[in-house]
């Protein structure tokens, strides 16, 4: 869905919830948007979803929060690109503030809805280890260094892989870019052609890695993170070994739902875990159908 | 060493080469306070190079420089300026984006107080007005943006820049090449005043009359060697030429007269931007028509308008009685018109491209083969032909235009337009900066063009060359053609009268 005006369906008197995401330029955040919009439709809330061009546009996100607050919404749902940065502006907010996907040390927040990225990475590491033997060589593909979400995932994955006794022979960045990930993997294979498994900090990179592996005709287990449509399809085709989905749709949906609850003065849990889903061949079909319904 | 107190400046055994090109092979030069010392030599003889070494713009390979008897080491232009050397370079060295007065004080701004204080714009303006006044220029000029001025006025600003400087030696590298008679006269008066104040002047020029008039001593350079230094007044210009080109020159203006044919080129009611009324004139086969006038008379504007170089223009142009529509330079070239522009650096050359590239640029079509690829060999041969014909030096087609001497650059621009095989040639100050020998070559070329059935129009601020080479003279003033004189009736006085309106 690409329209922003669909929320304005009902008559006046609707509550308005502003949702400021890290970006809207990737499928993951589109799922969050879809969830938020769906909740708005079901509950009769006017939902505005905005986000900068890229996750790295941190100040642009702050500006967007300011501009949304300026229009006095009933509540604000935010997914901070850099957790600490939103604190000063959100502290001044006089309306309920809910954080989704990424938490921040905000005193006046109503709730945090999401899964820690560390946990997602940890699950990914566990999944990869379960497919391999102890002592197997693995590689990690990280996002652009300094991107807190991918950095946390990498930390989690590393911890799980090390616990399971895997040998991490390479850890290289590919800036969350599919093409770069492919090149990086080709180069890693050049030196370590006995790598048995790869953890990638997002699905795009996982798919790029997969391409490099396939081209060499090697049997390497590749695990991604995010659970995008493309990744799930690849799992169904028996290519990608698995991905860790953080349930972005649910985050968006719960975010708006609880925002409305807060506006109405109802009690909202301080911490709502949207859970992670480990997606492998077993449950991929189900996930695919769900993703298809929400992305129309 | 001998006592040197007599000399202001002494250069000894100066050597300089660029790559394999040995330009200066041991030059000696001495300049005394209050004298006008002239440097004379063919294009590419190394005059500009020598003075650039003196001003710290280039580094010498060998030799010594003494200033007031003491050896000096000139690493940068600042070093030379500190000694009291002011320089008017051959190629304009101005900042088009800055105002006139800012250009005049560039590098030596006046300030309100100490070293760190603000600039004193007011004082600079006043002082700039004074310097421009010495050259007979209006004080209103000071606040103009320099880039908006014509090339002649820019040159005057350069001269004013040197005057504003409390110098002991002023170097002038072809200062009069872009000036017309009136400004030249002002400059001569200026030079005489400076001389009286004991300021020495190192003067480079290709104009023999002016050397005779101003110079005290003359040094002749040839092939990187100093040939001779001698007093100006007691020696004969023909002797200088002999020393400088290695042979004697029979005639300075090889004028040939051809039978006058029918009208070949006609301009009717042409509205030139900035001109008060439409302009028209015609040229017949077999004649060379000169256009004279003062700086800023609008001659260049007229030429550019004919050529379609400036937009919005009304009027008709006929070649052989047929009207040609000209909206752009491309149209003009297709119609067979060539404009040899006056500003070789700004409008003529690709400084970073080779000579063959430059020479064939306006006529690349000719070298496209059937395969639509360019015939590189053909280009090189054509370029070599022109280099030989115009005696461009060094005769290496691979050289970048930037590395040629000023006069040789001018020849490359001429070659570029000869290469187009046009029918109508408009030369705008074609001999600017060209040495006496080469000038004759250019004049011969014009003769040849006329003989072979081309129309030739020459815009020039050099009255002698107008009088010497043209069959008819148009005089312009403030955008209007104020006189149309057959050469028999054209005298210096009549032309000046029409040009000044006096």
């Amino acid at each position: 869905g690409c329209g922003g005006s669909k929320g304005a369906s009902g008559g006046g008197g609707e509550e308005r919830v502003a949702v400021v995401l890290k970006t809207l330029s990737s499928p993951y955040w589109k799922y969050v948007e879809a969830g938020a919009k769906a909740a708005g439709k079901e509950l009769g809330v006017d939902v505005t979803v905005v986000g900068p061009n890229a996750e790295s546009e941190v100040m642009q996100q702050i500006n967007m929060i300011e501009d949304q607050l300026n229009q006095s919404p009933g509540a604000l749902v935010v997914s901070p690109s850099q957790p600490d940065t939103v604190v000063p502006v959100l502290e001044t907010a006089t309306v309920p503030v809910l954080l989704i996907d990424t938490d921040a040390k905000l005193k006046n927040k109503t709730s945090f809805i999401g899964t820690e990225n560390y946990e997602a990475g940890y699950e990914g590491g566990k999944l990869l280890s379960s497919l391999l033997q102890k002592g197997d060589k693995v590689a990690i593909i990280s996002g652009a260094l300094g991107n807190t979400a991918t950095d946390e995932r990498v930390k989690g994955a590393k911890a799980a892989l090390e616990e399971a006794g895997m040998v991490i022979v390479a850890e290289q960045p590919a800036d969350s870019d599919k093409t770069k990930a492919m090149s990086v993997m080709e180069n890693i294979l050049q030196k370590n052609n006995d790598v048995k498994g790869v953890f990638a900090a997002n699905d795009d990179m996982a798919l790029g890695v997969l391409r490099a592996v396939e081209a060499k005709g090697l049997d390497v287990k590749v695990i991604g993170t995010d659970g995008t449509l493309e990744a799930v399809e690849s799992i169904l085709d028996g290519k990608l070994a698995g991905t860790i989905a953080q349930n972005p749709y649910k985050m968006g949906y719960e975010g708006v739902k609880n925002a409305l609850a807060a506006i109405n003065g109802e009690k909202v849990d301080k911490r709502i875990n949207s859970g992670v889903e480990v997606i492998t061949k077993d449950n991929a079909q189900e996930k695919l159908e769900f993703l298809k319904t929400i992305s129309k | 060493m001998a006592v040197r107190t007599e000399s202001l400046l002494e250069m000894k055994g100066i050597k300089k080469s660029f790559d394999q090109n040995h330009v200066l092979k041991g030059i000696d030069l001495d300049i005394k306070p209050g004298e006008v010392h002239v440097l004379l030599g063919e294009n590419g003889a190394g005059k500009s190079t020598l003075i650039k070494i003196l001003t710290g713009a280039y580094q010498k390979d060998a030799g010594e420089i003494y200033w007031e008897g003491k050896p000096v080491n000139l690493q940068t232009p600042i070093d030379a300026m500190r000694l009291g050397i002011a320089t008017i370079y051959q190629e304009l060295n101005v900042i088009p984006q800055l105002k006139v007065y800012e250009n005049i004080f560039l590098g030596r701004e006046l300030k309100r107080g100490g070293k760190m204080s603000m600039l004193d714009h007011k004082a600079m303006r006043e002082e700039a007005k004074r310097c421009l006044g010495m050259l007979g220029q209006s004080p209103n000029l000071v606040d103009m943006q320099l880039g908006k001025l014509g090339i002649g006025q820019q040159q005057l600003v350069e001269i004013a820049k040197a005057l504003a400087f409390d110098a002991k030696l002023i170097i002038m590298d072809e200062p009069t090449s872009s000036l017309s008679a009136q400004e030249v006269e002002q400059l001569y008066m200026c030079v005489e005043q400076l001389k009286k104040k004991g300021i020495a002047i190192l003067f480079i020029s290709h104009k023999l009359e002016e050397i005779k008039r101003l110079g005290d001593r003359i040094t002749i350079l040839r092939d990187g060697f100093k040939i001779e230094t001698m007093p100006v007044q007691t020696t004969d210009p023909d002797y200088w030429i002999e020393l400088m080109v290695g042979r004697s020159l029979d005639e300075k203006f090889p004028k040939q007269t051809f039978t006058l044919g029918k009208e070949g080129f006609r301009v009717e009611g042409l509205e030139v931007a900035g001109a008060p009324e439409p302009v028209g004139f015609s040229v017949r086969y077999g004649e060379i028509v000169g256009i004279a006038g003062l700086v800023g008379a609008g001659r260049t504007e007229l030429a550019r308008a004919i050529f379609g170089a400036d937009p919005s223009r009304n009027g008709k142009i006929f070649i052989d009685g047929k009207e040609v529509k000209i909206k752009s330079p491309r149209d003009a070239i297709d119609a067979g018109i060539a404009l040899i522009t006056e500003d070789r650096k700004g409008e003529g050359l690709l400084l970073d491209q080779t000579l063959d590239f430059n020479i064939t640029m306006a006529n690349m079509k000719k070298f496209a083969k059937k395969s639509r690829l360019i015939d590189l060999k053909g280009i090189r041969e054509e370029a070599k032909r022109f280099i030989k014909e115009l005696k461009i030096r060094p005769d290496n087609i691979e050289l970048k235009a930037r590395n040629l001497s000023g006069g040789n650059q001018q020849k490359v621009v001429i070659a570029k337009w000869l290469c187009t095989k046009a029918k109508v040639f408009i030369f705008d100050e074609p001999t600017r900066g060209i040495d006496v020998g080469a000038k004759v070559e250019v004049y011969r070329l014009m003769n040849e063009l006329v003989e072979n059935g081309a129309i030739v129009i020459m815009i020039s601020s050099e009255l002698p060359e107008i009088l010497g080479m043209c069959d008819r003279v148009l005089v312009m003033r403030e955008g209007k053609i104020t006189a149309d004189l057959p050469i028999g009736e054209a005298t210096q006085e009549r032309i000046m009268k029409a040009a000044t309106g006096a």
Partner: protein
Amino acid sequence: MSQVVVKTKNEVMNGTLKRVLSKFGPLIGLILLIMVLTVLSPKFLTVNNVMNIARQSSINALLAIGMLLPILTAGIDLSVGSLLALSIMMMGIVTVNMGMSPFLGILVCLAVGAGFGWLNGILLTKLRLPHPFISTLGTMNIARGIALIVTGAAPIAGFPYAIQFLGREFVGPIPVSFLLVIVVYVIFHIFLTRTQTGRYIYAIGGNPEAARLSGINVDRVLIIVYTISGLMAGLAGLVMVGRVNSAFPLAGLSYELDAIAAVIIGGASFMGGVGTVWGTLIGALIIAVLRNGLNLLNVPADFQMTVIGTVIIAAVFVDVLRQRKSKKA
């Protein structure tokens, strides 16, 4: 047409008006933009929102005025975004991690920016790299790399109030950061128009060879130019830290593009020698107003890019049209 015309007072006035307009050329683009947004959104022309814009523009305004100098010399500084990041990371290490005085921190922040800027200048002039694109592309990567290394990519939060002051506080309704912008711009205006070095910057951009032959120490001026550009990156970082109370190594990513856009929209030329302080301010405001307006109108993110692209072209085109008219008249 053909007679000499005595200038009437009216015409003289017109002339002055024209000069003012041509000086504040891009202003017309800004005014048009403001008019359109005022019509489209009732929230746009409120004190609150105007102050928002003032605050949101300040970081880019500071980077842009620094960027003006290299561009005036026909150069460019691609490193400002990275220098901003490195400056604030170092400030964070000094004040938060090591707990030293906030004033020392501010000093470190500005010094790191200026120091790396100086390095840009040295690389350009002493190593004689062919174009600042290369040297600043290099230091852009180097500085970003160091910013990532120093804390292992971790962000730093919890800065002392003294550091936050500039980016956070208000004087009445006016954000301190915007007052800072005004002060800085006034200083730059004086610097560029009234001091020797300022004029030399224009001269070098206009014709570097002529500048050198006029005895200007071109290298020295260029080093000053890049040092100042780096210093402004540090200052912009200080303001940013004040706004978000944290420093992170990816701060300022690709900010150089916005800064360059502001300078060019403001009427400066990549060919050097042309450009003004006030034009740059207007350029920065155009960008900030545009972003703010799009947010107020809740334009979806993917459409925002398209709109921003179109408006950038349109804003400059308005100026081009105006100049063409004033030339014809």
